[in-house]
Subunit: 310 residues, 2 copies
């Protein structure tokens, strides 16, 4: 609705070079260059200046980007009001989230939205946190459920409205015959000397585990890398090490493994938060989704839950 070339300019600003931005946007550098040239011509200002072998944004371009956020938010509000005014609004809601959220939280949200808005279409997209924000900005998703990891847009970013959904506590995953397996809870540093099974480097959960261990005062010895929970479970079952799993993650059955809740101050946990484009909150179907998400989170973290051992 708003000129998409602004988005291109923003990516150039974020990445620093036309070529990198083009790569991110799946365009050629030539197309990006051409688009920004046209935008600058339409605006009657210079947006980019040569700077070494790259480009530098002019003051005008920075002003443009800064104020554009407000324009986007305003448009989202209008869009929401328009949807409110149409009782028959199709109200397509596209939810995106990282794998655990996609599996544990989003299905019930989708069901709730479908029930409340029979004519709406709901779509779930599984994606990394970073990717989720890109999907939001590209208007390919309307609600993102992400794990807080370094490098994400700040909670005060004017482009988004973010709120806390749930603190998902971490459990230590050990073989059933491990000394710690019988404990009702452990401190993370009690496992400091174990061999560790982590996610692949660069993945959100790898980073999260490293951070948790660092907070607990040690650096884990990484014996193996597993991309999927199932693989990790199998490795722990085989006695090759221990790992961390978030409470929300369901593990496949059939392994001789045990989850031991972690304690500590703070309790090791991953912080899950929701994000929408600023201004879109009033969108009826999206409002339902947010409510449903909060409730799903409440159910998930309710005390007395006994099904997380699986």
């Amino acid at each position: 609705m708003i000129d998409p070339r602004l988005q291109v300019l923003r990516v150039v600003a974020a990445r620093g070079t036309v070529t990198a931005a083009a790569h991110d946007l799946s365009y050629t550098p030539s197309a990006v260059s051409h688009q920004l040239r046209g935008l600058a011509r339409d605006l009657g200002v210079t947006l980019l200046e040569p700077d070494g072998r790259g480009v530098r944004l002019t003051a005008a371009a920075r002003v443009l980007l800064e104020r554009a956020d407000e324009l986007y938010a305003r448009w989202e509000e209008i869009h929401a009001e328009v949807a409110e005014a149409d009782p028959e609004a199709a109200g397509a809601v596209r939810l995106c989230g990282f794998s655990t959220a996609a599996a544990a939280l989003l299905p019930s949200v989708a069901a709730r939205v479908r029930a409340a808005h029979p004519r709406s279409t709901v779509r779930i997209i599984e994606a990394d946190p970073t990717e989720c924000f890109e999907l939001l900005l590209a208007e390919q998703a309307d609600l993102a459920v992400v794990v807080a990891v370094p490098g994400l847009p700040s909670t005060t970013d004017p482009r988004f409205e973010q709120e806390s959904v749930l603190d998902d506590p971490l459990d230590l995953l050990v073989p059933t015959d491990h000394p710690l397996a019988t404990r009702s809870s452990v401190l993370l540093r009690e496992a400091a000397d174990e061999s560790w099974i982590l996610d692949r480097p660069g993945s959100p959960f790898h980073q999260l585990t490293q951070t948790a261990c660092a907070t607990a005062g040690f650096s884990p010895f990484v014996a193996h890398e597993a991309a999927e929970w199932e693989t990790g479970a199998a490795l722990v079952d085989a006695g090759l090490g221990v790992g961390l799993v978030p409470r929300l993650a369901r593990l496949p059955g059939g392994y001789r493994i045990t989850r031991v809740p972690l304690r500590g101050d703070p309790t090791p946990a991953r912080h899950i938060r929701s994000s929408i484009r600023r201004g879109s909150r009033r969108q009826p179907a999206l409002a339902t989704a947010l409510t449903a998400l909060a409730e799903a989170a409440r159910r998930s973290s309710a005390p007395g839950r006994t099904d997380w051992q699986i």
Copy 2:
């Protein structure tokens, strides 16, 4: 910058039918229909409903249009701020106005803008008041100077910022040997029984003359119709009738005609006002143009001016 389909929707709303809107926009009805269908799809709402053999805007569409004005104004503000941030901004200013304004006011405005912003390009477009507003909306003009005639957008229209520029008093144009020619001023109704030379019906000045005469309590006998001041002057010179000319209008020399200032309460005059897209006031070159326009108006209406007899 904002999705141009909103503009299409607005014209459909104004004209009532897709076909009429298409005609106004120089499109085919098919294209308009297709565009609005796409807009509705992107928004997830119904915008048009069949109504008889035409269409009716839904509540959602009306909300959309109402709020869109604000979005446009916001964008203009941003555009202005961006231009302010670029000292080298090209700052193209396109001025439009009806013939008299184009001749009497706009050249000095253009000169002033060019002097203040050497890199800017100024362009003057002569157009009817109605057309001027269309040019503004289509972003083909940035400042319009129009005569207040019925049917124009109201001064509170959220799409524009309008301000009074000048009250251009009307003079009675008579042959030099006419009994009223020696008077220093006359009341309009003193010419009630004359034969009148008016502009073509439908033109702004025709309407203005009719309104002035109606206010003075009579309905003029229209003997001839002249589209150009020059023609009118020739007809008056030939003794075929009298007419009204605004003070600002320059008449060609060589005719034996006399202008007699009108008095009355209020003094018959045409109200000239400026109009810009709401939010664009801060655009540097445009701000200069507005200042220059006000000054040109002040000069034009300064008492003691002696050059208007021509």
